[in-house]
Amino acid sequence: MRPFLLQVAAVTLINLKSIPQRFWLSLSTVVAVALVVMVLLTFLAMSYGFQKTLSGTGAADVAIALRGGAAAEINSAVTRDQVRLIEEGPGIDRGADGRPLTSAELYLVVDGVKRSTGTKANLPLRGVGRDGANVRKGITIQAGRMFAPGSNEVVVGKSLASEFAGFDLGQTVKLGTSQWTVVGVFTADGGVFESEIWADAPAVQSLFKRENYFQTVRARLESPAALASLKQYVESDPRLKLDVKTEQDFYAEQSGQTTDLIQKLGWPLAIAMAFGALAGALNTMYSSVAARAVEIATLRAIGFGGTPAFIGTLVESLLLSVIGGIIGAVATWLIFDGFTTSTLGASFTQVVFSFHLSPALVLQGVGLALVVGLVGGLFPAIRAARQPIVAGLAG
C-alpha cells in the first residue's frame, strides 16, 4: 500500500509542478470555474439574504390572524368586531395594565423613491395599534421617538430610511394625500419591519379612509404552545373566518416563493455555465495529459501503475477547480456579502435585504466546482492511465 501511495504522491507532485508549463490554459479553467461559482453564489446569497430577512422577522410566540385564505397582509381584511373577539381569545399574553397584548393593523402601499436609482417603488405603510411595538420583539427606536397616537407622525425602519429618499429624521413626506412627519427611526433585529413605515393605526384609517376595518391582528402569546388554543377558539366561532398562524410560519411562507424563484433562476444558470467551464476543464486536462505523455509513459516504463497516473490527473483537475471555486467564493463574498438591495415581497412592497453568503452556501459553490473538476478530469485521467507506453514514449 505504501509504495502505491508514494507513486500517487509522486505522479501528483509531477503533475502539479508542471502546471506552470500550461499556465494560461490552467488559468482559463480556474477563471471559468470561478465565474460559475460566482454566479451561483450570488444568486444563493441573494436568496439566503432575502430568506434570512423574512424568517428573522417572525416569532414563534406571536400569532397573526388574517382573513381566511389570504396569502398576504395586503389581501386580508379583518373587521373591528373580529379584532375585539380575538382580543378576548385564550392564550394571549397581557401587558402591565392587564390588557391583552394585541395590535390590529392596516397594511397599505405608498409611493417612495429609491435613492440609488431615483425610480419609484412601492413602500409599505403599516398602521399599528398602541401595542404594535410591544407585541413584537426587538423593536428599538434608534433615533428620534415613537409617533404620538392620533398624529400625522411616522417612524421608519432603518433599512427603508437608508434605501429610500425623503425619510430622514424630521423630514415631512407625502403619503397618500396627506403630509406626515418622520419622528423616529427604528430597528427590528434586521427583520422585514425595517423596510416599513409605521404610523398610528387610527390615524392611517382616518387619513386613508379605511375607518372600519384592519388587515391583520397580531397577538403576543403566553407561549408558542398557546397558539393551539387560540386557533381552536377562532375555528369554533363562526364569526371569525380567519386563519391564525405564528408570525414565524407566516414569514416563512412569505419568503418561500421569492427564495424559490431566485434559486430556480440561480441553479440552472450556474449549471448552464458549468457546462462551459466543464469544456474548459476537459480541454485543459486533455492538453495536460498530451503535454505529459512522455513523462507518464516514462513513469510507467519505470514500473509505475496506470492508477497513479489516473489519480494524479484527477487530482490536478480537482485542484484547479477547487482553486477556481475558492476564488469565486471569495470574490462573491468581497463584492456581494452585505450588499443591500430591495425587491418586491409577497405584498407587492419593497423588502430591503442584504446578500448573505453563509459557509453552507460556500460549500455548495465549492461542491459545484468539485463536480466540474471531477467530470472534467475523469476522461483525461482515463486516457492517462490507458495510454500505451510505447505510444507515449514516441511522444
Binding site: S18, V294, A301, F304, G305, G306, V390
Partner: protein, 231 residues
C-alpha cells in the same frame, strides 16, 4: 541456446498493421543473453531494434512465442504484473533521457525506489550511491535544465540502476550527444557491465558505440546476425 540465459526469446513473432497491410518485424526470433552480457543491437531503421527493447522491457506484447527474463515468462502477463516486472527487473535508458524536468536529479533518481518498500533514509542512501556511480554526487539538487546533455544522461543511467535491476535496456543512449560525451556515457555503461556485472542490451546506430559492448547483434529482416566489432 544457453540454459542459463538471463534473457531468452523463443519463436518470437511480432508485426504491426499499416492500413490494410500486415507487416512482420520478427518471425520466430530466437535469442539468448546470459547474465553479465553487454549486447549492442544494430540494424537499419525499421528493423525492430526498439521493438526488441520494448518486448524485453514488457512495454509491448509479442504476437507469438515466449520471452523469459530471469526465469519469468513475461509474455502474456497482465499490465499490472508487467509493471511489477519492470519495477523489479528492468532499468530503461532513453535517447532523450526522459527526466522529469520539474524534479531534481536526486528526485528523478529516486522515482524507481518509490516502487519499493524502502524507507526515506534508505532511498536517500541508494540515490546518493547511484549518483556517485555515474559521477554526479555533487549535482543531486540540480534540475535537468541546469545540466548538460551528458549529465542528464548520467542521471538517467543512475535512475536506471538505482533499484539494482537485472537488466539495463538502453535505446540509443548516445544518439543525442557529441562524440566525447557519448564516449563518457558509454564508458559509464561499460563500467557498470564490467565492474558491477550489469547485463546491458543497447540499441545503437553508431558502430563506435557498439564497440563498447561485448558483442554486437545485427538485426535485419527479422533475424539476428552476430558480428564482432570490438576488434
Amino acid at each position: 541456446m544457453s540454459d542459463h540465459a538471463l534473457v531468452r526469446l523463443e519463436g518470437v513473432t511480432k508485426g504491426f498493421v499499416k492500413g490494410q497491410e500486415s507487416i512482420a518485424i520478427f518471425k520466430a526470433l530466437d535469442l539468448a543473453i546470459p547474465t553479465g552480457d553487454f549486447v549492442a543491437v544494430m540494424g537499419p531503421s525499421g528493423s525492430g531494434k526498439t521493438t526488441l527493447l520494448n518486448l524485453l522491457g514488457g512495454i509491448d506484447h509479442v504476437d507469438a512465442g515466449a520471452i523469459t527474463v530471469a526465469g519469468q515468462r513475461i509474455d502474456g502477463l497482465s499490465e499490472n504484473a508487467l509493471a511489477r516486472y519492470r519495477a523489479a527487473n528492468v532499468g530503461f535508458v532513453f535517447q532523450f533521457y526522459n527526466l522529469m524536468p520539474m524534479l531534481t536529479a536526486a528526485q528523478n533518481v529516486e522515482l524507481p525506489l518509490l516502487l519499493t518498500p524502502l524507507k526515506k533514509a534508505q532511498r536517500r542512501t541508494h540515490v546518493e550511491t547511484a549518483l556517485a556511480v555515474v559521477g554526479l554526487a555533487d549535482r543531486a539538487k540540480h534540475y535537468p535544465r541546469e545540466m548538460s546533455g551528458g549529465q542528464q544522461q548520467r542521471v538517467a543511467i543512475a535512475r536506471a540502476i538505482v533499484s539494482d535491476p537485472k537488466i539495463l535496456l538502453c535505446d540509443e543512449p548516445t544518439g543525442d550527444l557529441d562524440r566525447a560525451t557519448a564516449d563518457e556515457i558509454l564508458g559509464v555503461l561499460q563500467t557498470l557491465n564490467r565492474e558491477l556485472g550489469k547485463t546491458i542490451v543497447m540499441v545503437t546506430h553508431d558502430p563506435a558505440a557498439a564497440r563498447y559492448a561485448k558483442r554486437t547483434l545485427h538485426l535485419d529482416k527479422g533475424q539476428f546476425f552476430e558480428k564482432d566489432l570490438a576488434a
